[in-house]
Subunit: 453 residues, 2 copies
C-alpha cells in the first residue's frame, strides 16, 4: 500500500521481460508504476536495452515518464523515433513539458517533428518556445483555468466538473475580465464553500500575486516559496493571464539554482547535481578550467612573486614554514565571507551592501586577531625567534582582515559589472587570497627583517 | 492588483503609525497586507518598536505572520507576553505551527503558556512536540482530512462543504479503514469528477505514497519533490494516518538542507542562510572553529612537517616557490570531488559507491596529468633546473590523484561512522589535502635530490 520506491525484485522482473522481448506483458507491469520510479528504472538500463524499451512501449505510456528522464535521454529518444512517431508521443504531454522537450532538440529535428503536430498544439508550442527556458514564461504551462468574473459559483462548479481533466491543477481558480486581464483568485475550497448564486467577481480575492512572463525563474521561485503558494499565475505586459507556474516546478528551480551556487563555491563550474552521474569527460570539461584558474594563480603568479623574495627566503628559511598557514587562512576567510554574501544577494536578504561590509569587517578583524595571536605564539614556540612570530602573526592578521573585505567587495564589483557574483567565490576567491596573503607576508618580512639588520 | 512586495511608502506610513501609537489605525492598515510582507516589515523595525507593535496588535493579527518571523523573534515575543496572552495568541495558529513555536521556548516558559491552552489543544501540542523537529512527525500538521472508505462521493462533497475551513489544505482526500489505517487517496478533482453515488473505496487510488513519522525531513522532502506531490500523508507504525506534510513546508526543508551543505563546503559551520543577518558574535562563533581546524592543519601540522625538511628547503630554495601550487591544487580537487560525492549521497543518486570511486579516479588522473605537465614546464621555465620540474610535476600529479581518491573515501568513511559526510568537505578536506600534498612533495624532493647527489 505504501509505495515508496521500485523494489529490486520488480526491477529484475521488468528487465527479464525486456530481454525476452515480452512487450505486452512489460506494458501491463509498467502501467502500475509511478512515473518517477519508471524513469529511474529506464535510466538504470544500458543504452541498448533502453532504446529498445523506449521505442517499443506505447507512446501514451512513455509520455508519462518522459519529462522525468534526463535531458540527454529525452533528446536521444526523440531523435531515434521517426518524426511522426515522435510527434504522437509529444501529443500525450502537458504543453509546458512538450515545449521543454522540443527545446532540447536541434532546430532541424524540432521542425521535422513539429510538422506532424496538430496546428493548435504547434502554435501553442511555438508560443512557449519563445520564452527563455529560465524565465516565468519558460516555466509555465498555458493550461490555466480562467473564469469570467460574471460567472456564478454554481456555473463555475459545473464547468469544473466537466473540464477539470484538461487542466494540470485546479488548486486555484483565476478570474479574468472581458479582456482576459487577471482580476482575482479563489481556491477550489473557497468556491466549494461559497453560496452557489453569487458571482465569482463577488467572492474572489482581488489581491492576487502574479508574475510577468519575463521574470527570472529564481525570482519566481522566491515568490512562490515566500508566499507559500501552490501555484502563481503568469501575466503578459497588458496584465492578461497567459499561464501558470506550479510549486513542483519551483522545487526543481530552487534545487537547480542552489546546486549551481554550490558548484561555484566548490569550483566545479556547472551545478553540482549535473555532475553526479555525468560521463567522465564532461566532468573533466566542467572542473578543469577552475583548476587551471588556481594553477595560474598559485602555480604561476604566486611562484613568480616568491621568486622575487628568493633572497629573503634563502636567508631566513623559517619564513617558508608559515607559507601554508598564511595562504590557507586568507583563502578560508574569503570563501566563508563570499559564500554568505552571495547567498544573501540571491535570497535578496542583503539590501544595504555597505552596512553588510562594515559588519563583515568587524567579524573579520575579530577572527583575524584570534588567529594572528595563536599563530604568532606557535611560531615563537617552533622557531624561537620573536621577529618571526611578529611577522607571521601580523601578516596573518592583515591577510585575514583583507580577505573579509575582499570577500564582499569582489562579488559586489562582479554584480555591478553584471557578472554572476557567484563566480567570485570558489577557486577564484581562494586563489586571489593566496596571492594577497603571500604579498602581505613577504613584504612585511622584507621590511621588518631589513629594519632589524 | 498584482501584489508583489510591500512598497517603501506603505512601510513608512506604518512606521509613523507605530511612532504615534495609533494602534487601531495600524491594525486596519496591517490587516490588508500579506503575512510574508508583514513579517518582513516587523523584522525591519528596531527592537523597541517591534516589541511595542507585537504586544499591542490583536493576537489574531499577530498569529497570521508569527510563523514567518525568525525563530529568535518568535521566542522573544512569547517570553515578553504574559502566559495567558501568549496562549491566546497560539490558539490562532495551525497545530504544526503552534508546536513549532512552543518548541522554541525554554521548558518552564513553555509549561507556563501551555497550562492556559484548552485541554484538547494542549494534548495535540504535546503529541507533536514528541517528534524530533527534523522528522516527518515534526514537520506535519495533524489536521488532515481522513474519510471512511464506505462514505459515498455525494456525502464526501457535502462533508467537505461544511468542514473544509478546519483543514490546512484539501488538495488530496485520504481514505481510511475502520482502524484509521490509510488505504487510499483521491484528489478533490477526482472527487468532483466521480459519479455521486459511488463509495470512496471504489473511486480512490489505492497506491498512496506515505511516509512514517520518524522519517528524516530530508528524505520526506526528496519524496515530495521526486513524485511531484502537493502533500504527503504521515502514518504511524501501524499504518494509521496521523498527519500531513505539505509542499510549502518541503520547500523550506530543501532550502534549509542545501544551505547547510553549502555551509559545510564553505566552512561556515551552520547553514549559510542563518548567517546572512545574524549578529556578528554569532557569526564568529559559527565560523571561527573551522578556521581553527585550518590553522591547526596548515599552521601547526604543515609547519612542523616543513620544519623536518628545513635542510632540503635551505639547500634548494627553489622548492619553496611551488609550495602554494602543490597545496592549492590538491585542496581544490579534494573540495570538488567531495562536494559532488556528498551531494550525490544526499540526493541518493549515488548507490554504488565503489563504482563512483573508480569513475572519480579516472577523472582525477586525467586532470592531474594535465596540471602536472603544465606546472613542470612552467617550473623548468622559471627555475631552469630539470630536476625541479620533474619533482614539481610528479608531486602535483600524485597530490591531485590522491586528492580525488580521498575526496570520496573520507566522506564515505564518515558516512560509515554515522557522522554527517558533509563535514568531510570544506576546510577539513582542503587542510587534509594541503598536508598530504606537502608530504608527497617533500618526500619526493628528498629522495630525488639525494639520488642526484
Amino acid at each position: 500500500m505504501v509505495l515508496i520506491a521500485l523494489d529490486r525484485a520488480t526491477a529484475k522482473r521488468l528487465q527479464r521481460l525486456i530481454e525476452e522481448r515480452e512487450w505486452e506483458e512489460l506494458e501491463r507491469e509498467i502501467a502500475k508504476l509511478h512515473p518517477h520510479d519508471l524513469s529511474e528504472f529506464v535510466q538504470s538500463l544500458d543504452d541498448e536495452q533502453r532504446r529498445l524499451c523506449l521505442t517499443r512501449l506505447s507512446p501514451r505510456l512513455v509520455a508519462q515518464f518522459l519529462p522525468e528522464l534526463k535531458d540527454e535521454i529525452q533528446a536521444e529518444l526523440l531523435e531515434l523515433l521517426p518524426p511522426r512517431a515522435a510527434a504522437e508521443l509529444l501529443m500525450h504531454l502537458e504543453p509546458d513539458e512538450r515545449a521543454d522537450v522540443l527545446a532540447l532538440l536541434a532546430p532541424e529535428v524540432r521542425r521535422g517533428i513539429m510538422q506532424y503536430l496538430p496546428a493548435e498544439l504547434r502554435s501553442e508550442a511555438r508560443a512557449l518556445l519563445r520564452h527563455p527556458s529560465d524565465s516565468a514564461g519558460g516555466l509555465m504551462t498555458t493550461r490555466v483555468l480562467a473564469l469570467p468574473r460574471d460567472m456564478s459559483v454554481e456555473e463555475a462548479i459545473r464547468f469544473i466538473r466537466t473540464h477539470a481533466g484538461e487542466y494540470e491543477t485546479i488548486y486555484y481558480l483565476y478570474v479574468v475580465d472581458e479582456k482576459g486581464k487577471l482580476v482575482g483568485v479563489l481556491s477550489l475550497r473557497d468556491l466549494v464553500l461559497a453560496p452557489s448564486g453569487r458571482k465569482l467577481g463577488e467572492v474572489m480575492n482581488p489581491d492576487v500575486i502574479a508574475v510577468p512572463t519575463d521574470m527570472d525563474q529564481e525570482e519566481v521561485a522566491k515568490i512562490v516559496a515566500d508566499y507559500d503558494l501552490a501555484a502563481v499565475p503568469v501575466v503578459d505586459r497588458e496584465g492578461r493571464l497567459v499561464g501558470l507556474v506550479t510549486v513542483d516546478d519551483v522545487v526543481d528551480v530552487i534545487e537547480e539554482e542552489m546546486a549551481e551556487d554550490m558548484g561555484q563555491i566548490a569550483g566545479t563550474g556547472v551545478g553540482v547535481d549535473r555532475l553526479i552521474e555525468a560521463p567522465a569527460l564532461e566532468v573533466v570539461r566542467a572542473r578543469l578550467p577552475w583548476l587551471l584558474v588556481a594553477l595560474l594563480g598559485d602555480g604561476i603568479v604566486a611562484a613568480s612573486i616568491l621568486k622575487r623574495f628568493e633572497e629573503t627566503l634563502a636567508s631566513v628559511v623559517a619564513l617558508s614554514l608559515f607559507v601554508p598557514a598564511i595562504m590557507t587562512m586568507g583563502g578560508n576567510v574569503g570563501l566563508q565571507t563570499s559564500t554568505i554574501f552571495i547567498r544573501g544577494l540571491a535570497t535578496r536578504e542583503i539590501n544595504d551592501r555597505l552596512r553588510y561590509l562594515l559588519r563583515e569587517i568587524k567579524i573579520g578583524i575579530t577572527m583575524a586577531l584570534i588567529a594572528g595571536v595563536a599563530v604568532a605564539l606557535f611560531a615563537q614556540l617552533l622557531v624561537g625567534r620573536p621577529v618571526i612570530g611578529l611577522i607571521v602573526g601580523t601578516a596573518m592578521f592583515a591577510a585575514m582582515s583583507l580577505a573579509s573585505v575582499m570577500g564582499v567587495v569582489i562579488p559586489w564589483l562582479f554584480e555591478k559589472l553584471n557578472i554572476d557574483p557567484a563566480i567570485a567565490s570558489g577557486p577564484f576567491m581562494t586563489t586571489t587570497q593566496d596571492i594577497t596573503g603571500l604579498v602581505v607576508y613577504f613584504t612585511l618580512a622584507s621590511v621588518l627583517l631589513q629594519q632589524m639588520a
